[in-house]
């Protein structure tokens, strides 16, 4: 069963909106009544990641070529693993320093898979957009890894900018494909 373009676009819009909600929840600070950023460990983030993984895995069933099947399966795996580790950390059942790196490393892996996707199928429609979106994810992940090692962290992480750009591209670009 192969889905028409409009249905594929709908899936991308929904996943883009989910990703946007996750990153805004994680990186846009919530100020407490004293005006200080409150430390929050929202469970929305891990559950959102795992919900997204189900959506990405579904693409494996509907994809019409092996590249899409393989890459979407790996995206789903990374989303689920990142969500599970974040859930364990935020529930306090598994506390390790290296877990701070889970989300940024997941962004770098997703971005790399975007670019690998283009290498596997160079003639595919939207190859340039895939590379740009992969670069945004990799850039966001690297900026966040740098921020985690910086003693004075800015209130709003710079990584939020490329990551929001990626989410908006995921919502907007399939519009042109579908219409």
């Amino acid at each position: 069963m192969i889905l028409p373009h409009l249905q594929i676009a709908r899936a991308h819009w929904a996943l883009g909106a989910l990703f946007l909600a996750i990153l805004l929840e994680e990186y846009v600070p919530l100020l407490d009544r004293d005006g200080r950023p409150s430390r929050h460990r929202s469970l929305v983030v891990p559950w959102g990641l795992m919900l997204g993984s189900v959506g990405v895995w579904a693409t494996t069933v509907f994809a019409d070529n092996v590249h899409d099947m393989l890459v979407h399966t790996l995206w789903g795996d990374i989303l689920f693993a990142a969500g599970a580790l974040e859930l364990a950390r935020r529930r306090g059942v598994y506390e390790r320093r290296w877990l701070d790196n889970v989300l940024p490393l997941a962004f770098v892996c997703w971005g790399s898979l975007f670019i690998i996707h283009v290498f596997m199928e160079p003639g595919a429609v939207g190859g340039g957009w895939h590379v740009a979106m992969g670069a945004l994810l990799i850039g966001g992940g690297i900026l966040e890894l740098i921020r985690l090692r910086h003693p004075r962290r800015p209130r709003v992480p710079l990584a939020a900018v490329p990551l929001a750009g990626f989410a908006l591209a995921l919502i907007a670009i399939p519009v042109s494909q579908a219409t």
């Binding site: 709908r10 909600a21 805004l24 919530l30 004293d34 005006g35 919502i171």
Partner: protein, 77 residues
Amino acid sequence: MAVPTLSRGERRALRSTLVQPRLVVAVLLIVGAVAWASVRGLDGYGLTPIGVCYTLDQPPVLLALVGVWLSFRSRAR
């Protein structure tokens, strides 16, 4: 007449009430969604369950939903 002055903590509390970053982003998203919808237009797919899903699963509507959700999450806890 003495002019009431706010302490540093009070000024900070007032600022956080007025300028909650999440609320700013939420308003930007909703304004962007309205602008996008007015340019692109929205389609209606009826009131059946799948029709409602399709109606909601349009880029401007999704952006607005994220904005509304973020404004809900911007309340200080």
